[in-house]
């Protein structure tokens, strides 16, 4: 709908070509709708895009890209918008390419442990197409809506990354539209450089992933969830660390503090986990062949015992397990009930620093006087949820900044790594050589201002 006076000042010829490529109903230029596309799940908005387009197939993506190149207008990619890293934040006045209409499942070849899907297919769709014999294990909690393309572009992890790594570890092939509109079919095992490597986690800086070949694994023979309760979050964290130091490799270790548990209880979460009992919870998922699982369960219970566990429940029924994961997945929605507005942090520390990191976050939270719910993973991922009280976003942001500083001092990093964080010495935010090789015109954005993370450095020879 390219009405007069809209389109963010983009050339009429560009808008015309975008409509030709995507169809008029899939070119969004009204400011109200565009405003909803300014941020991902990470809360901080990017600029207002001039226009958002939803190409329906690979050719349309290529046509959009060619039109942008010719008009010299930068673009940013967006999947379902579930990321926390700011990768989908638009360049002001640029084009936002939303890939959720690329949702065809192209091939399910379970005898090869492979599925081929378009980038806009949700991880949940992949999971349901390969079930019950196979799984795509990294499984972010946002998997219900998160798209395959977005998960690869951010190399997304999830609760099961502890054992199974990130989504990028399961990519065996990609179809990629380059910033000049060219289409590459990249497969693992070909001669020459591994070009899949740079595209995984590139946040859309190098090319547009339009389809992916994903490796899936046989479903574990037995899966077991242990819901354990602890006097405090730090007790739970110490037990989580002890588990990681043992020969047991849990599939998932999820930590929740009292406030988070209360919010989940209020939201009607599963009673085994979500209660007003106080203290903290550690959810341990174990999976594997049956002989090993019995042993792992025994070791886990023993370690919990020596670390002062208050209560431990074993859930073996798939239905119960689903209820627990659904409850964990409620996280942010549930917290909305106890905090009208909040800021969600995305921090990481080396696993060995989990306990001091959580302790430091709690200290800073209580010094600030703001309510903070703590969600964390045993591998050192921290998602503090900071209440925005009385509309004072700056206060919450200041606290999050303090928390980020604390994590960096422990050797960790803060999220929003695709734009927010100033490049530290020796760690430039994306090597210019890489960008220049893929994107000689420098038009692919990544939620960052076009000039901050790119465009510096060596000009093409």
């Amino acid at each position: 709908m390219t009405e007069a006076g809209t389109g963010g000042g983009l050339p009429a010829s560009l808008l015309r070509r975008l409509v030709e490529a995507c169809g008029s109903t899939h070119v969004i230029s009204d400011a109200t709708t565009l405003a909803t596309l300014r941020s991902d799940a990470g809360r901080r908005p990017g600029g207002l895009p001039g226009v958002a387009v939803l190409p329906g197939d690979v050719d349309a993506v290529r046509a959009v890209v060619r039109a942008c190149v010719e008009a010299r207008v930068p673009w940013v990619l967006r999947g379902a918008g579930t990321g926390l890293a700011g990768g989908a934040r638009p360049v002001p006045g640029g084009v936002l390419i939303v890939l959720t209409r690329l949702r065809r499942v192209l091939e399910v070849a379970l005898e090869d442990g492979r599925v081929v899907v378009e980038a806009g297919v949700s991880l949940a769709t992949v999971a349901s197409r390969v079930a019950p014999t196979h799984v795509l294990p990294p499984d972010p909690l946002s998997a219900r809506v998160a798209t395959v393309g977005g998960a690869i572009a951010t190399d997304a992890g999830g609760p099961r990354s502890l054992k199974y790594g990130t989504v990028g570890d399961y990519v065996d092939g990609l179809d990629v539209v380059l910033p000049d509109g060219g289409l590459l079919h990249l497969r693992r095992g070909g001669a020459g450089f591994d070009l899949l490597g740079p595209l995984i986690g590139s946040a859309g800086r190098l090319g547009i992933i339009v389809a992916a070949h994903l490796r899936v694994l046989p479903t574990p023979e037995v899966t077991c969830i242990l819901v354990t309760r602890w006097p405090s979050l730090l007790d739970a964290a110490r037990a989580a660390r002890a588990l990681c130091a043992s020969p047991v490799t849990p599939a998932a270790l999820e930590l929740l503090d009292d406030l988070a548990l209360r919010a989940l209880a209020d939201a009607g979460g599963d009673r085994r986990l979500a209660t007003h009992l106080g203290g903290a919870a550690l959810v341990v998922e174990l999976d594997g062949p049956r002989e090993d699982l019995a042993l792992a369960l025994e070791t886990t219970l023993e370690i919990c015992g020596t670390h002062g566990v208050l209560d431990a429940r074993v859930c073996l029924e798939p239905g119960d397990q689903e209820a627990i994961w659904a409850t964990l997945g409620l996280g942010h929605v549930a917290l909305r009930r106890v905090m009208a507005d909040f800021l969600l942090g995305d921090l990481a520390v080396p696993p060995a620093q989990l306990v001091p990191a959580l302790a430091g976050l709690a200290e800073r939270a209580s010094a600030s006087g703001l309510r903070v719910a703590q969600l964390a993973r045993g591998e050192g991922i921290l998602h503090p949820v900071i209440a925005v009280e009385g509309g004072d976003l700056a206060r919450a942001e200041a606290l999050l900044a303090e928390m980020a500083t604390h994590c960096r001092a422990l050797g960790g990093r803060a999220g929003a790594e695709f734009g927010d964080e100033p490049a530290a010495e020796g760690r430039p935010g994306g090597l210019p050589e890489l960008g220049a090789s893929f994107d000689p015109h420098g038009l692919l954005g990544s939620g960052a201002e076009p000039d901050s993370a790119r465009g510096r450095g060596v000009a093409p020879a």
């Binding site: 379970l110 591994d194 070009l195």
Partner: protein
């Protein structure tokens, strides 16, 4: 005239590289020499031989299950150090005693454990890289999950030192299994072996490795399990092999020699080695091709990666006969045999090749890093 240098750290190395670039002197990067013939390196005038030997530091963060490892550290030394803390790097390429970690990363080499743990690009979390213009770049971070710039980290794996010199890498570790066991059986035909491999790969046994060996119309399948219950699980694997009609099925806990033989099959001193990626469902077809070109093959039955040892004269035929969707590249070849046909590899499309060349040009504008090397049979000038 070849000059030999062995810088002891990133700063010295980067300085040496920067100087070589200014003087336009080609730099040949050398680890232990265990893969010295790969890529058919041509002799260069005024060449500098850069040894990574003194980049030998190991920083093991046991609790984080990661290690920062100098490029010149032999994998064998790393593994014995990690083993004392009950951990390992899940990479087991051939000649692992002396092959350096930097060389394994740069060539993307791997062994039977890649069935479960993948190849270097799946285990690397970060790297310190010296660029040909003298800069030092850190990619990724010593955290268990990759962050921004992981892009470059993975690109280094299998880049053969064409983009710069890897100074050190950060890698993910796994617990060292208390014990292992292997089930093995003999197949009389390609379809029997492939069917058995399929049912093991689709099973829930969490195998450490699932390998085959093949020659002259017959071969064997090996499935390794690990952990306190390794033998029990290997027996379940053996039952599957029997169900599928394999002969001579047995389980052994003394399986080191079996796997060493599999690794050895990935090298040759007299013939060429082609690495072939096929869909696992095409394994039977591939074995037919192996017989047709009179090759000997070992490989990962679950992931579809095979190593074919064959007469160089049969390479072109091999590429022609491969099942569709397969990719082949040339690894090892006999000393002195240079100038093998590029048709010996599945060449990338012109667009992909152009992008590879663009990367080389941007990272190494003067072309000093390992010039003339061909990547798996594909020259990247």
């Amino acid at each position: 005239m070849t000059a030999l240098i062995a810088p002891a750290g990133a700063v010295a190395l980067a300085a040496a590289l920067g100087e070589a670039a200014r003087e336009r002197r080609p730099v040949r990067i050398a680890g232990s020499g265990s893969k010295g013939r790969w890529g058919a390196p041509p002799r260069q005038e005024r060449q500098i031989l850069l040894s990574t030997q003194r980049l030998d530091e190991i920083r093991h963060h046991r609790e984080d299950r990661i290690a920062e490892v100098g490029a010149g550290v032999p994998l064998g030394r790393l593994q014995s150090e990690l083993a004392q803390a009950g951990q390992m790097l899940a990479l087991d390429p051939p000649l692992g005693e002396r092959a350096t970690v930097g060389g394994i990363i740069a060539t993307g080499d791997s062994g039977p454990l890649s069935h479960r743990f993948g190849t270097p690009r799946d285990l690397i979390l970060g790297a310190r890289l010296a660029l040909p213009d003298g800069r030092i770049v850190d990619t990724g971070a010593p955290l268990p999950r990759r962050g921004s710039q992981a892009e470059l980290t993975r690109l280094l794996c299998g880049s053969f030192g064409l983009l710069g010199v890897v100074v050190s890498v950060t890698v993910r570790l796994v617990p060292l299994p208390a014990r292992t066991a292997t089930a093995l059986g003999l197949a009389r035909g390609p379809h029997q072996l492939a069917a058995a491999a399929r049912s093991l790969a689709a099973g829930p046994l969490e195998l450490m490795a699932l390998d085959y060996a093949w020659r002259g119309g017959r071969g064997g399948l090996l499935a390794q399990t690990a952990g306190p219950n390794a033998v029990m699980r290997a027996q379940r694997a053996a039952a599957i092999l029997r169900e599928q009609g394999l002969g001579g099925v047995e389980v052994t806990a003394a399986d080191n020699a079996l796997w060493a033989r599999q690794r050895a099959g990935q090298r040759s001193s007299t013939a060429v080695i082609a690495r072939v990626h096929t869909a696992p469902s095409q394994l039977a077809a591939l074995l037919g091709v192996v017989d047709a070109v009179e090759a000997t093959a070992v490989g990962r039955a679950g992931t579809g990666v095979s190593y074919l040892e064959l007469d160089p004269a049969r390479l072109v035929e091999l590429v022609r006969l491969l099942p569709s969707g397969s990719a082949a590249q040339l690894l090892d070849h006999p000393a002195g045999s240079v100038g093998l046909p590029t048709a010996a590899a599945t060449t990338p499309s012109p667009a992909v090749l152009a992008l590879m060349r663009s990367l080389k040009r941007h990272f190494d504008p003067h072309g000093i890093c390992n010039p003339g090397l061909s990547l798996g049979g594909v020259p990247i000038p």
